[in-house]
């Protein structure tokens, strides 16, 4: 897994609530057997017309909005457990998703792929949307070490929560499976106690 320490970037705003994983990556794109290429179909049904041409009114097709931070309305990533949603977001080039609320499974999946979900207050989120809409060059800085997100348009900052173990994993680029494999003896001991 790639390390994540600190990032400053312009943002792509998606002020929609309850964005479910079927919107992030529709089921018909889940037929692949590897993790590559999902970025091309991120938000496919909002992003492309039936003939595959881009829909001009969708934010990913608006050249004014670029960057590696996606900012979305509350309850982002609800629905299906498909990790393909995290692969699509990562594959497109987003390293951070900011929202006021995330669905559980999506949050885990994102963290397991080095994509950082940052929970901010509804007010902080509303400010980002309005600042970015009036000035698309607005940047955010996400500092994982200090757990602080800063809106550089206003200088306002907020601290965000992350599990200390998950933070360590991201800072060092380690994943859970490395940890679990190091505990094989404990697993066998546990199995023996249950026999």
């Amino acid at each position: 897994m790639e390390k994540f320490v600190k990032l400053t970037s312009t943002v792509v705003p998606l002020p929609i609530e309850n964005v479910d994983t079927d919107q992030i990556i529709p089921a018909r794109f889940l037929k692949a057997t590897d993790k590559n290429g999902f970025g091309d179909n991120l938000f496919a049904d909002w992003r492309y017309n039936k003939d595959g041409s881009p829909k001009a009114d969708f934010v990913l097709n608006n050249p004014s909005f670029k960057g590696s931070i996606l900012v979305a309305g509350k309850n982002f990533g609800s629905g299906s457990s498909r990790e393909h949603a995290a692969w699509a977001i990562d594959g497109y080039g987003f390293k951070v998703v900011v929202s006021s609320f995330f669905a559980d499974i999506f949050k885990n999946n994102a963290l397991n792929n080095g994509v950082l979900p940052v929970v901010v207050s509804p007010e902080f989120l509303a400010d980002i949307f309005s600042d970015v809409s009036s000035n698309p060059a607005t940047t955010l800085t996400v500092d994982l070490e200090n757990q602080v997100i800063t809106n550089n348009a206003t200088g306002k900052a907020e601290s965000f929560e992350i599990n200390p173990y998950k933070k360590e994993c991201l800072l060092k680029g380690l994943d859970d499976i490395d940890y679990l494999l190091s505990k094989k003896d404990l697993i066998e001991q546990y199995e023996a106690t249950r026999k």
Partner: protein, 464 residues
């Protein structure tokens, strides 16, 4: 100290705790399907690992499969490749419980698990599928995981999980006539909203739950994820034990007696503390339908869609976007609206009792001319029962056809897709935009409302 049902099962499966971090939880049963597993097996290969406990994983192909002509080669080459990859992984990793397309135990993963006795009280159960919560009906901790976690379970039989908060929802009294488990679940999701139980594990309790069959309990637990819950569970009782007993992979003889004695201890102690406790009166629940594009946008079938001023300001754009997609207006009633498709099936409502309810309603009637109906049993076991009980004759007489088992029109991954702009009354679990096909408009409901819609060709209250 008094413990909740959740505490008892969780505590019995803790292998270790990461300092300031999640719990290493042992998994008793892992269910695996073709869509969310290939990258996990690739991961094992890349690390040079074998599957740690192959006998604890049950594999079935269900999402990306056709529901007709299953004896023929799968036409779509990309789907076929995914199914072939599933088969290769099962063979290469010596997986003993592999049920491919055409196998008599093949079917929707959350239906074949309980049906074959893999699902038993007190277990921890995971699957790369959010509707794994279904198995909670047996008094298990069952939840959906991502593919990275599938790889962890294959490699170590463990996952790392943060302990969720606990919620108990009590349903007092009795459900009214024509009101079913699906209605109770859609009612609850509408009350809590689609994110209202995020961070919680839910225990369903109360008289209305106790009165339910196992299949109804599975429908309730299945939909837990639709209000964001990590999972849902129901304490096991005689109904549970009677269901499990005698199934192929259930314990037998002396082992059965030992397990049964343990299972009888699996209930929340008196005075156990929940982080949140809610009470509903079952008599308040009506047959439910959804009007929007998430399962929380539901209402009693006779009610009206909310008006804009009833919606939080921050949510109005999303609400309006949702109604525009559905082609409905705020404040509108939906009874009497014509529909185009009916889907009976899925891990939510693809069991024999669902087919009984549907068949009983349509008996002696005819399918409406404007309706295309897809009736998809959840497994070959369900299909066999439909034939043996004479339900197929009733359905055929009413103009319906039966398809072969699979996830079918629940998720538009296979050939069963609802065309753009068409309305489908579906017994499945999600009404997201495009869930049943690009542009398809889904109205979620129970099997009885679906049957009434199939006969009248309109949204119809089955009680009148």
């Amino acid at each position: 100290m008094s413990k909740t049902l959740f505490d008892k099962i969780w505590d019995a499966h803790v292998v270790s705790s990461v300092e300031n971090g999640p719990t290493q939880l042992y998994i008793d049963r892992h269910f695996c399907h073709e869509v969310t597993s290939p990258q996990a097996f690739n991961g094992l290969r890349a690390r040079g690992l074998r599957v740690f406990r192959p006998e604890l994983t049950t594999m079935t192909a269900d999402h990306n499969t056709p529901t007709i002509d299953q004896d023929q080669p799968v036409k779509d080459p990309i789907s076929r490749n995914q199914l072939d990859t599933f088969a290769r992984n099962a063979a290469e990793f010596n997986m003993p419980l592999y049920f491919p397309l055409g196998h008599q135990k093949n079917g929707v993963v959350h239906i074949i698990g309980p049906e074959n006795g893999f699902t038993q009280p007190g277990m921890t159960i995971v699957c790369g599928d959010s509707h794994t919560s279904t198995h909670g009906a047996f008094g298990t901790i069952a939840f959906g995981i991502g593919t990275s976690e599938v790889e962890m379970v294959l490699a170590t039989q463990c996952v790392l999980q943060s302990r969720p908060k606990t919620m108990r929802i009590n349903y007092n009294g009795k459900l009214g006539k024509g009101v079913m488990a699906k209605d109770l679940a859609l009612f609850t999701i509408a009350k809590l909203t689609t994110g209202g139980a995020t961070g919680y594990f839910v225990e369903y309790a109360g008289k209305a739950i106790r009165n339910m069959s196992m299949e109804e309990r599975m429908t309730v637990c299945n939909l837990s994820i639709e209000m964001g819950a990590r999972g849902g569970m129901i304490a096991p009782d005689q109904t549970t034990f009677d269901y499990v007993k005698g199934r192929e992979f259930a314990p037998k003889g002396e082992e059965w007696e030992q397990k049964l004695a343990y299972w009888k201890t699996l209930k929340s102690d008196e005075g156990a503390k929940f982080d949140l406790e809610l009470d509903f009166d079952a008599a308040d629940i009506q047959p439910m339908i959804t009007y929007g594009t998430n399962p929380g946008m539901g209402m009693g079938i006779q009610e009206s869609i909310p008006t804009l001023d009833q919606i939080d300001e921050a949510g109005r754009i999303s609400f309006q976007k949702s109604l525009d997609y559905m082609g409905f207006a705020a404040g509108e009633k939906l009874v009497g609206k014509p529909i185009d498709y009916v889907f009976l099936g899925s891990c939510t409502n693809g069991r024999i009792e669902d087919f009984r309810v549907f068949a009983q309603y349509v008996k002696g009637k005819k399918i409406a001319d404007n309706v295309t109906a897809w009736l998809v049993p959840g497994s070959w076991g369900v299909e066999k029962q439909i034939r043996e009980e004479g339900l197929l004759d009733i359905l055929t007489e009413a103009g319906f056809k039966l398809r072969q088992p699979g996830c079918s029109a629940c998720l538009a991954m296979n050939d069963d897709k609802v065309p753009a702009g068409k309305y489908a009354v579906s017994t499945s679990n999600r009404n997201f935009e495009g869930r049943q096909g690009p542009g398809a408009r889904t109205i979620l409901a129970g099997p009885l409302v679906a049957a009434a819609a199939a006969i009248s060709g309109k949204i119809t209250d089955p009680r009148v």
